[in-house]
């Protein structure tokens, strides 16, 4: 919070009791004096409403051009937030804080634009009437009888750095009004305006405005005193809990809680209880969710839903667990008998709250609970209930001779239970009601009439009916509870499964893909993931939905502001996706969900997404950490290689160079004295050493080409015999004195190879065999087809390989140490390996029985379709 405040721009609100008091004028005057002091001021939005004084004032400022766009057929002008952020003035003027932006703008409300500007470090001047303050909403509608739709969260007002009250006496305002100097929004009926601008209303509003300003000043001093260490707020340690129900009171409850908590300077909690059988598609449920979101937005310390059937107990235990000192609860006025029959939640809480204070807010809102069960009603199930009834009646008729009617009533109760469990509440009630009639008709004397001789049966039937209702209530409740816990179980299972799978993921991409799959399955929604950096979207895992350009801009906003955006949020709600930034130790990108047409994500879904994203970021953090650790190892490894390379190179290049230079110099100096034979020796050594140098350079260049990936294999079909033939011809001189035997079957199929490179492999391996040979000068090449490969072995009777180094010999710069006789830079085998692997073959080395080494490699056989 502190750091956010430090970088945030300053907000000054020019606050008034009603339109026409001169807020805009005052704002412009204040801005003018700032500008005169050299502050970079720009007008974001100022409505002149045709007033000449205001208009003249504006001319001294630069005005940000409006953004034009069309929505449907309508061309719309709106504040251009991107341009403002780009222009980044020191101070921007944003008239009418509570303004609602046109659909298609980034934020639905201007105050959200202002928030973003403040977050970007831009100072903002704005204007606000008291009736648009969310916390004043109830008071204003009481005073004026008008419900204000455009409201600004109280929190922003409280957090404003400065509130300047623009106050003129009520009489003066009325005078200005009669002179037509006050703008009354187009479309507002004259009568409504007349109703609003009455002297009583205006006086009450003025009082309200004065009080809110005073409270703000109060808060300011508190803040100052806290800074100076003179004051500890909330000494009482109050914590307030507001219980949000599903009726129309819920919003009012949130506002009240905010008000009380701000005057007590106490943190507040908002709690919604979700009971079994709650239908999430219901309006009432959505109202509850909205209230919860509003609480969160208005600074509730925590706003959450708890799943519990006993609402009273749930509230009390939550309160105790969270150290709540005050509970705020709503209560609709209803007939007393209803409390008496159904019990009252409020009574229950008050009776059991102990030391916790309970504040009850009343309202006349209708409870919408009744409607909640309509979806349980199913004609088919009712039909089954009737069929069941018929079956039980038949059964009853069979037993009639053996049992009294009172016993048969008991049998019907079994039917009620079965209906309740299998078919639901309504069919069960139906069964119970119909069974009363059936019992009377079929079993109670006189039978086949709806009358009865023995009046005591009325009591039996009434008791049966009551019992049935109770059973039905309990059984259906139980059923739903089971269903709910089953769903919770599934949810837990989903998270558990994902956690386990993510633990095995080694690549970021697979972790993201796994998470997407699980979200898609759990929420039944289309999803996407955008890998992003500061510049924008780098990569989308799935296809974009909606207008790509627009959707991307939402993604960028969510990424840069580290806040969710898009559908269902306050930022660009018209986007087709909901964008959730994925941030762990670093920002990874944005998760996108595409909610179904017209259905916002529920708080539940939000909670699930949050959990999913948390799991994903943990996995991504882990993966990134291990990758960077791996990178570190690779870096170290290549550092080691570089060192080996340098020492190996300097040795291997210097030796032949020294020999060449030395021989040449000696020749030059001794040209007249040295015998012809000795001269010949020197020249021979120059030739040999330059050959050696040439091989070294060639190997080095080849390997570099391979490692930088600059080698494109030019594959052609060849008979390997041809390549062996040409290799042997090239090595003619090297092989003098050696016996080379080639064992190859005549019917050998062709291989698909880059002939020049494979020739190189043969050359290197044969040269290798030659240079490590000892007394016995022989090289054996054998070629045979095995499955889809041709296998080539090149063996010698030389020194053989050191035990356990059969693999390492293919490493770069590996050389067999043989005293002071290094045989090259250890590049030849590395190149062979690169070439063979590049062809999709394998290469290995082992020692031969009876001494010597054998190198074996394979190459894939050519198939016609290779071309």
């Amino acid at each position: 919070m502190e750091s956010r405040l430090r970088n945030r721009g300053r907000l000054k609100i020019f606050f008034g009791a009603s339109p026409g008091v001169g807020k805009t004028y005052a704002m412009l005057m204040a801005a003018k004096s700032e500008q005169e002091e050299g502050v970079d001021v720009i007008i974001g939005v100022v409505e002149t409403h045709g007033r000449i004084e205001t208009h003249e004032l504006i001319e001294g400022f630069s005005v940000l051009p409006r953004k034009h766009f069309s929505y449907g057929n309508v061309r719309i002008e709106e504040f251009d937030i991107d341009a403002a952020l780009k222009r980044h003035p020191k101070l921007i003027l944003m008239d009418e804080f509570a303004h609602t932006n046109a659909t298609g703008s980034r934020h639905p409300k201007r105050w959200q634009d202002v928030e973003e500007l403040l977050n970007a470090g831009i100072d903002v001047y704005t204007t606000l009437n008291v009736q648009h303050l969310e916390g004043a909403h109830d008071a204003v509608s009481n005073i004026t009888g008008i419900t204000v739709r455009e409201t600004v969260p109280e929190q922003l007002f409280d957090e404003a750095n400065e509130i300047q009250l623009i106050d003129i006496p009520t009489e003066e305002l009325l005078e200005r009004l009669s002179e037509g100097k006050v703008y009354v929004a187009a479309g507002v009926k004259e009568k409504a305006a007349q109703n609003f601008f009455t002297k009583t209303n205006l006086m009450s509003l003025r009082e309200l405005a004065l009080r809110r300003t005073a409270e703000h000043v109060d808060a300011d001093t508190d803040y100052q005193r806290i800074q100076d260490g003179l004051f500890t707020p909330n000494i009482a340690g109050d914590r307030i809990l507001v219980c949000i129900g599903q009726d129309e009171l819920s919003m009012k409850l949130v506002r009240t809680a905010r008000k009380i908590s701000s005057s007590l300077k106490a943190p507040w909690y908002a709690l919604a209880i979700e009971t079994a059988g709650m239908d999430k598609k219901q309006l009432s449920y959505q109202r509850q969710q909205r209230a919860l979101l509003a609480a969160e937005r208005n600074g509730a310390y925590r706003a959450q839903t708890v799943q519990e059937d006993n609402i009273g107990e749930a509230i009390l235990s939550y309160a105790v667990n969270n150290g709540i000192t005050k509970i705020i609860i709503g209560r609709n006025i209803r007939p007393a008998w209803m409390d008496w029959v159904f019990g009252s939640l409020v009574e229950h809480i008050i009776r059991n709250s102990g030391i916790i204070d309970v504040y009850v807010i009343t309202g006349h809102g209708k409870s919408h609970k009744k409607k909640a069960n309509h979806n349980e009603f199913s004609l088919i199930n009712c039909g089954w209930a009737v069929i069941g009834l018929a079956a039980f009646t038949g059964f009853g008729v069979l037993l009639e001779d053996f049992f009294k009617p009172i016993d048969i009533i008991m049998i019907y109760l079994i039917g009620v239970i079965m209906c309740a469990v299998k078919l639901g509440r309504i069919p069960s009630f139906l069964f119970a009601l119909l069974s009363v009639g059936t019992l009377n008709y079929f079993f109670i004397e006189p039978v086949y009439t709806f009358t009865m001789v023995d009046g005591s049966y009325w009591l039996s039937l009434a008791v049966m009916l009551m019992t049935s209702f109770v059973i039905t209530q309990q059984a259906t409740g139980l059923k739903k509870q089971t269903e709910m816990s089953r769903q919770r179980e599934i949810q837990t299972q989903v998270f558990y499964l994902l956690t386990r799978k993510l633990a095995g993921a080694t690549y970021a991409k697979s972790a993201i893909e796994l998470t997407l799959e699980h979200i898609q399955e759990a929420l039944n929604l289309q999803v996407n993931f955008l890998t992003m950096n500061e510049a924008g979207v780098v990569d989308a895992l799935r296809d974009f939905q909606g207008d790509r350009l627009k959707e991307e801009s939402v993604a960028i906003w969510a990424y840069q502001n580290a806040k969710p955006a898009g559908a269902g949020t306050n930022t660009m709600p018209s986007a087709s996706g909901f964008y959730f930034p994925v941030i762990g130790h670093q920002s990874y990108g944005v998760l996108v969900l595409y909610p179904k047409e017209g259905a916002d994500l529920t708080v539940d879904a939000h909670a699930m997404i949050e959990t999913f994203v948390k799991l994903l970021t943990t996995a991504l953090d882990r993966i990134t950490a291990s990758i960077s650790a791996e990178q570190l190892t690779i870096d170290r490894e290549s550092e080691r290689l570089r060192n080996t390379f340098l020492s190996s190179m300097s040795h291997d290049m210097r030796t032949p160079l020294a020999a060449i230079r030395g021989s040449a110099e000696t020749l030059l100096n001794t040209i007249d004295v040295l015998g012809k034979d000795k001269q010949k020796n020197l020249i021979g050594s120059i030739q040999d050493e330059s050959d050696r140098l040439f091989r070294l350079v060639k190997n080095l260049l080849d390997l570099t080409k391979f490692e930088t990936g600059h080698v494109a294999l030019k594959k052609e079909p060849y008979f390997l015999q041809e390549i062996i033939g040409s290799s042997l011809k090239i090595l003619d001189n090297t092989l003098s004195g050696f016996s080379v035997s080639v064992d190859v079957s005549k019917e050998l199929p062709m291989v698909n190879i880059d002939a020049i490179l494979v020739e190189q492999v043969f050359q290197n391996l044969i040269e290798n065999a030659v240079s490590f040979s000892q007394a016995k000068h022989e090289v054996l090449i054998s070629v045979k087809a095995i499955d889809n490969f041709i296998e080539v072995s090149i063996s010698d009777r030389g020194l053989g390989l050191p035990e356990g180094q059969e693999k390492t010999i293919f490493d770069k710069f590996y050389t067999l140490s043989q005293g002071d006789r290094p045989k090259g830079a250890g590049l030849g085998l590395a190149i062979c390996q690169a070439i063979i692997l590049g062809h999709g073959g394998t290469i290995s080395a082992q020692n031969r029985d009876g001494g010597g080494a054998c190198f074996t490699f394979t190459l894939p056989i050519y198939e016609e379709r290779d071309e």
Binding site: S690, E716, F719, Q721, E722, I724, G725, V742, M750, V758
Partner: protein, 238 residues
């Protein structure tokens, strides 16, 4: 008395020029030097040489363009020198009309063999040879005779065409594309798969072991070369 054949060396590396000049003069040729492609072109024009040795890595012009422009008015044999990493350029150069190539670093033996072959083609006044004799193998293109020792060899038309192409260019490298065009026609889609199979059959018929070829040498990745016929020295001095 015969006039010594004139060889034009076009190379920008002084060391290479020096070594070539010394070696070739010693072998009895008249050597001329050009440091740039432009000068080379001028010299080919003013003093037509018998053989041109051209480095493909000239700084002032692309070796392929050089060959192309020379081929517009002269059939002088061109031997290109290439570094190992200009494999592709080498093939293009051959297809543009260069007669043969040498990969750096090369030995003097190889060099003189190439020059010998080039000169023989030059001296006979034709670009192509009509007959071939080496060891046991005798080919007479005019009479369509192929013999190994005293035995007549019967070749299929495809095999014969292939051998014909190699004989006409005896001693010189023949690229795969040239072979395929000669055997199957200009517009045939080159299929090196068939080429290998026919070369294999041809080798079998003329008794040539691909592991130790006496007649047809494989130039990996480039093409084939029918080894120099016997008795070339006699022809050269002629």
């Amino acid at each position: 008395m015969t006039v010594a054949p004139r060889i034009l060396i076009i190379d920008d590396e002084p060391e290479i020029r020096q070594f070539l000049e010394v070696e070739l003069s010693y072998q009895g040729y008249t050597v001329e030097i050009a440091e740039t492609g432009a000068l080379g072109l001028k010299l080919v024009n003013s003093h037509p040489p018998d053989v041109v040795i051209l480095d493909l890595g000239l700084p002032d012009m692309d070796g392929k363009d050089f060959i192309k422009s020379i081929r517009e008015w002269s059939q002088v044999p061109i031997i290109v020198l290439s570094a190992r990493d200009t494999e592709d350029e080498k093939i293009v150069a051959l297809e543009q009309g260069a007669d043969d190539y040498l990969t750096k670093p090369f030995g003097t033996g190889e060099l003189s063999a190439r020059i010998r072959v080039a000169l023989r083609h030059r001296m006979t006044g034709q670009k192509t040879m009509k007959s071939y004799l080496r060891l046991e193998l005798y080919v007479d293109l005019e009479r369509r005779i192929v013999k190994v020792g005293n035995e007549d060899i019967h070749l299929t038309p495809t095999e014969y065409k292939m051998l014909e192409c190699l004989v006409m260019n005896a001693g010189r490298v023949v690229t795969q594309a040239t072979l395929i065009n000669h055997v199957w026609g200009k517009n045939s889609q080159g299929n090196s798969h068939y080429l290998r199979i026919y070369v294999q059959r041809l080798r079998e018929k003329i008794n040539d072991d691909p592991l130790k070829p006496e007649y047809i040498t494989t130039e990996a990745g480039i093409g084939y070369r029918l080894n120099e016929p016997d008795g070339t020295y006699i022809q050269k001095i002629d």
